[in-house]
């Protein structure tokens, strides 16, 4: 009897069960450090809870924080900024990324050299990227307003302070940072394309432009899907470069939702409301993430 159990136990420890034991530590860790706070945050979002309040009372107010969010003009404006930022960065980065991939697809020394340097922007600390661009944009001594003036373009108070210019200026920083990533994703996609359709196209006398439009683009559809989803999710989370360049200004022009959450939570210390806003952002991103997972899973088959 006892022998039977020890045999079973041994099998579980040593057989397929071993996989369970190898996986368990990271599960416990992630549940404690990342999942528990997320559940905790669902709880706080139902309370009026300000750390600036001397007694720090928590008052249960149900879904009032969520209702407030959708009637708060600041939040509605930050939704708009987020939307513009995400659309702007994703569309431009995808097109530039594909262009770069086509430009640098050759396996010669020059392409390889440039490609390894293009790894730099995405490996740098985003805060440093933001601060460097802030210096380049500086209206008094920055090189961008200086050269713009030489070309006859007056940037007024500098791109970061001029309403209407700040959002494009920040989008440009993001483009600088992330276009190379898309280039590498598209390069991987292009390298995995089958060669036969192109041979057939040459035989049929199709031009290079036609084979790009009718072969390359459709064959790259899975790559496009993955790239768009991945960048959209990352773009929703932008924080460091906003913090470093404009701090959300001028006005609320570059206050994306993620930055507004930081302001509500860590500057105004309105924890209940900040949690509710964070959960709204989380909801959007997790939906995108689930779609992303489904797409990846389908491509595996």
């Amino acid at each position: 009897m006892i022998n039977q159990y020890t045999a079973k136990y041994r099998r579980f420890m040593m057989g397929e069960g071993a996989y369970f034991w190898l996986l368990l530590p990271v599960f416990i860790f992630v549940a404690a450090i990342a999942i528990y706070p997320l559940l905790f945050s669902l709880g706080i979002s139902l309370f009026e809870y300000r750390l600036t309040d001397p007694d720090q009372v928590k008052t249960f107010i149900g879904l009032a924080n969520y209702v407030k969010a959708f009637n708060d003009p600041v939040i509605l404006e930050s939704f708009q900024s987020t939307f513009l930022f995400v659309i702007g960065t994703v569309v431009i980065e995808i097109s530039f990324g594909l262009g770069l991939a086509l430009l640098l697809t050759a396996e010669n020394i020059v392409s390889q050299f440039i490609r390894s340097f293009l790894l730099l922007p995405m490996a740098l600390p985003p805060l440093v990227i933001g601060l460097v661009w802030k210096a380049l944009y500086n209206v008094d001594w920055g090189i961008i307003p200086f050269y713009a003036k030489m070309l006859g373009l007056n940037l007024g108070h500098g791109p970061l302070a001029q309403p209407g210019w700040a959002l494009p200026a920040v989008i440009l920083v993001d483009i600088w940072e992330w276009t190379p990533l898309l280039m590498f994703i598209f390069l991987a996609g292009i390298k995995s394309l089958p060669i036969e359709p192109y041979e057939a196209a040459v035989v049929d006398g199709a031009s290079r432009w036609k084979s790009f439009i009718y072969l390359t683009l459709p064959l790259l559809k899975p790559t496009f899907l993955v790239a768009i989803l991945l960048r959209t999710m990352q773009s929703f989370k932008v924080f460091d470069i906003i913090y470093a360049t404009t701090a959300g200004g001028p006005g609320l022009e570059t206050t994306v939702l993620n930055f507004q959450i930081y302001k509500v939570g860590m500057i105004f210390f309105d924890m209940g409301y900040a949690s509710a806003l964070a959960n709204i952002l989380l909801f959007i991103v997790v939906i995108l993430a689930v779609i992303y997972v489904l797409v990846l899973e389908r491509q595996q088959l």
């Binding site: 990342a34 430009l103 340097f117 790894l119 600390p125 440093v128 989370k237 924080f239 939570g265």
Partner: protein, 276 residues
């Protein structure tokens, strides 16, 4: 397949050069500014190639006890985060790649979704929890949160890596009576060193570059380099020398990894981003 005309080659060459310039100028500006005297840093038109060079920004920074503290803190947080993330993530990635148990298999997607969670969503409750545990401002508050995300990344990446490691040798060992643990430690692990290096580089980059977690979880004594860079602004006058010098120190891992270890880095990019 298609031949390019001479004109086309020239145009493509010019475009390539412009692209390269666009991506390199900000980095070049940062590096040369760190070697300039304060008075030369912001003269217009900018001095791109010839300027009186100096090392005094660096000697200042390396004699400044605060700068040294930021560097020390960044090294502590990065090394512990990397070691912990690998210790937790590599075995888990192996288990997911090898198990026939459906539930464990699809748990990899749980880690992928977790990677996408906006930092602010965890940070606000995490901040409150750490405050109640009196861990705010400690190294551990920062290391644990960084590890939760980095370990998830390692799981996802090592799973893809182990899937490409041939299973036959492990199966042979299992037939010979070795346990699954032995198969992992003795056979699969040595074969997966390139994947582990690649994962480690990502952990290093993520934790070294992290700003938002450090912004909210550190105290003046545990500030990392990015916060040190910021504090050169909050002083009465902005110290651009200190800012650029610390920034150059902050980009060293990125430069080494991009230019000298790019084989491992690119592997991770395409593996983590596109491959299921």
């Amino acid at each position: 397949m298609y031949k390019k005309s001479k004109l086309e080659k020239i145009i493509l060459g010019i475009v390539t050069f412009l692209v390269f310039a666009f991506f390199m100028i900000p980095i070049y500006w940062l590096v040369i500014t760190s070697f300039k005297y304060g008075r030369d840093a912001f003269t217009l038109p900018p001095q791109w190639i010839f300027f009186p060079a100096t090392l005094h920004n660096y000697t200042d920074a390396l004699q400044n006890s605060k700068s040294l503290m930021y560097i020390k803190n960044s090294l502590i947080v990065t090394s512990l985060t990397t070691v912990l993330s690998l210790a937790l993530g590599v075995p888990a990635g192996y288990a997911i790649a090898r198990t026939k148990w459906k539930l464990l298999n699809s748990s990899s997607f749980f880690f992928l979704i977790l990677l996408m969670v906006p930092p602010t969503a965890t940070l606000i409750p995490y901040y409150l929890i750490m405050r109640d545990l009196h861990l705010l401002g400690s190294y551990w508050a920062l290391i644990l949160l960084n590890t939760a995300f980095d370990a998830s990344f390692v799981v996802w990446m090592m799973r893809s890596y182990f899937k490409d490691v041939p299973i036959e040798m492990e199966e042979a060992a299992l037939v010979d009576g070795a346990s699954h643990f032995t198969a992992f430690f003795r056979i699969a692990l040595p074969l997966s060193v390139p994947g582990i290096i690649s994962s480690a580089l990502y952990c290093i980059i993520y934790s070294w570059n992290d700003f938002i977690f450090a912004l909210m979880l550190t105290s003046p004594k545990t500030k990392t380099i990015p916060l040190g860079i910021l504090s050169s602004f909050s002083a009465v006058d902005v110290s651009w020398g200190q800012m650029t010098t610390l920034s150059v120190l902050a980009i060293i891992p990125a430069v080494i990894i991009s230019l000298f270890l790019n084989r491992y880095f690119v592997q991770g990019l395409t593996m983590g981003a596109t491959k299921g």
